[in-house]
Amino acid sequence: MLKPKKMNKVLIVGSKDVLESTINTLYDLKIIHIIDYQGSEEGFEIGKPIKKTSLFSEYVLSLRALKDVLNLSDKSADREMKDFEFSKEFKERLDHLENEVMKKRKKLEDIQILLSDIEKIDDVGELKKLGLSEDVNSIMLDLINSKENLIKEKQELEDELKHINEEYRNFIVTAEDFLSREIEKAETPLRLATTENTFVIEGWMPSDNIEHAREELQKSTGDKVHVVELDEVEEGIPTYVETPKPFKPFDTLVDMFSTPNYDEVSPTLLIAFTFPLFYGFMLGDFGYGLSLFGLVQLLRRKMHSTGWQSLLNMMSYASYFTMFFGLFYGEFFGAEIYHTLGIDSVAGIHLPIAHRLDEIVPLLIASVGIGVVHITLGYVIGFINVYRKEGLKHAILEKISWIGILYCIIGFLLFPDYTYPIGGVLVVFAVMMILGEGMIGLLEIFTLISHLVSYTRLLAIGLSSVGIALAINKIAFDLLLPNGIFYAILGVLLLVMGHTLNLALGIIASFLHSLRLQYVEFFTKFYKGGGVKFTPLGIRNEEV
């Protein structure tokens, strides 16, 4: 799960008359990452697209234009529908639809321009004063009088467009999706090497799937295709990490930094835990967590694109942690919950466990403590990566030495009486580190210290948010609400607007700082990245 899947290079060789069915099979299986043929071998040419592409392209262009005009770009297609009659009838239907929609839209735009012009004349008023001739005046008056009719016409056109939208939505989206796929299939030969009668597909396939692919190909082409595995170790092996589905959204965060290399551990699963944890630690307010949860549920219904969905999935995890920490700190929109409700302790635990404004020092220490654990984890993964690539000696010199240095620094802080023994151990680790990374590593010790201090943001970001929330509550409850109806209304307004603003700031700040802790403090300890993402034939860009 943490490790990218093992890949093998494969060659698929066959005779040209089964090229189309080979591509179709591979397209449906979605398991081969094709290496584009550059046209550099003698005797092999780049393949030619399968016919019918140009006609399809034409259809797709009109369908995309329709999608654009009717605002359908975020609707997903109904994949079940597959049989389209690409006959003359289809073309006529499409042309007719396009004409209709474009004509209506043009008309609508014209009316809108006319209406805004009339508006201007209306404002200027008193046309007569301008000294225009009678004829012009009467035309103007007619125009102004026609305003109502125009508005009515506009309404009608909008209704008609809406009607078309509802009736043809499914047809347009599904047809566009289907045709785009067909075009992609038809253009696949452009990425392959071919001779007069044969073709060669070169690509990467997960080792476990090769047997299955071979069987399927032989079935669909009647044994006319040969699949060869190559034992080449090469640069540029694509990375495919099988992340369990609930944690898939966090792949985006890792890929935003850099795609994992083929031979390193993918940090997605760790981030899936630490990112929402840090987020909750920073925002940490039950009321804000609840609002965030509601917001996520609301947006889930409105935003259908893949990017939004994965962002919202992450945020829903984050909202659970925020609510949890809200209970931990005992905060509800900045107010102290337990005190207000009169609950003092549950099951012998004093509540709140740690209020952020009262327990600043313990929480400061806790946040650096979390940092120590997080950074250690980073070095441990680094150890695994280096161990697998360069062996135990390098791994100890480069990573264990750093863990040692980290704990020596902590030792100085915790046991000020034992400076000399700890200093001695530190020198040993520092020498190991210099052997592993060179003299330049000495400068990195300061970076390590600054990274440690950087984890205090876990408390700091939260404190600023609590501070604002508290100020809003104080102004509203103490100054405004008790002073008559007018001030009370003002107070409610301030509460709503103030907390909305603070929530917006909190959501963004916690997100960015939680992410930053992953990228700058965590990833730098082990992550190289720079891999190529496994993008098999059959998965289109927007789905990745």
Binding site: M256, T456, R516, V520
Partner: protein, 78 residues
């Protein structure tokens, strides 16, 4: 009645947050304007640009940590 030491500690805490805040602001101004420039050409960069813009916020967080330690560790220990 607070003595001079308390006053100086409070002032130091204020300076720690205030000056580092200015430093963060200067750094963020430059990154921010570069980020907006980049986004004008390529809108997808929004996420990355936003993240890069908050990187120097570390400076003011260090300042805040120093101020908190001054106020809640050093001051009560006197």
């Amino acid at each position: 009645m607070a003595d001079l030491t308390t006053g100086l500690i409070a002032l130091s805490a204020a300076l720690a947050v205030g000056l580092t805040g200015i430093a963060s602001a200067i750094a963020e101004r430059q990154i921010g304007s570069a980020a907006v420039g980049a986004m004008a050409e390529k809108e997808e960069l929004f996420g990355k640009a936003l993240l890069l813009t908050v990187i120097p916020e570390t400076i003011v967080i260090f300042g805040l940590a120093v101020a908190l330690i001054l106020l809640f560790v050093v001051l009560p220990g006197l």
